[in-house]
Symmetry: C2
């Protein structure tokens, strides 16, 4: 077990550094903690997927589990499912740990995005409408 | 002088790994080389700024110069000024090296985005319309 308290405080501080009211740096999004509505730490943002045509962020790719990167799995979430919370110093999602654990995920050496239906499955799992 | 040829080839390969036709990973955007219309390597993408309200990428933050991170300066470009070129394995901008060198820039420990007029100045320098 790792105590996440100090980590989340650091993330909060980092996230503030490169933010104005509207803009946030990609380097600050990456590594930011994600909590559910019960305040449980459910993971952190590893990276995110950008739509090259529209320039919009489409998915946050969360990581959780694994040890020293071994066995780590990546869980994409529709970007609209994340709300930044200044007090928590991280993102809040209305998603249970069980929903996340049962959601679409991939290993470091996998690239699920080559499947054009993958995004639709991610949205469907979290009960969100899909439009591309 | 550093030979950029091998670096750009690596970036091209990396950029392809996490791409579908529409999606690109934030981790692949970061580090991707930027060339001007003359094919000169003018820098690389260090990070980018995301608009939290619209979820859109607003600026690519380019880095060039510096040695081991010392003296490195960050040059934000309006995201719309960058076009990805698969053959080059990087982004192409219609911007001369002189325009870039004379453009708005900041040091590692500076945060220009707290100035609400900064984005406007960046757009203005590159002759692009500003809307927020």
């Amino acid at each position: 077990m790792i105590d996440d308290t100090s980590t989340s405080r650091v993330a909060a501080q980092d996230a503030d550094t490169d933010e104005t009211r509207r803009l946030i740096s990609s380097s600050k999004v990456e590594g930011t903690n994600v909590y559910n509505l019960e305040g449980e730490h459910v993971g952190s943002v590893n990276s995110f997927m950008v739509d090259k045509h529209s320039g919009k962020v489409s998915y946050a790719v969360m990581s959780f589990g694994g040890f020293l990167g071994i066995g780590e799995r990546y869980h994409p979430l529709p970007w609209g499912a994340l709300k930044y919370d200044t007090n928590a110093g991280g993102y809040i999602v209305n998603i249970t740990r069980e929903q996340l654990e049962g959601g679409p995920s991939f290993a470091r050496d996998e690239d699920p995005w080559t499947d054009p239906e993958y995004g639709r499955r991610v949205h469907s799992h979290y009960g969100l409408p899909y439009s591309m």
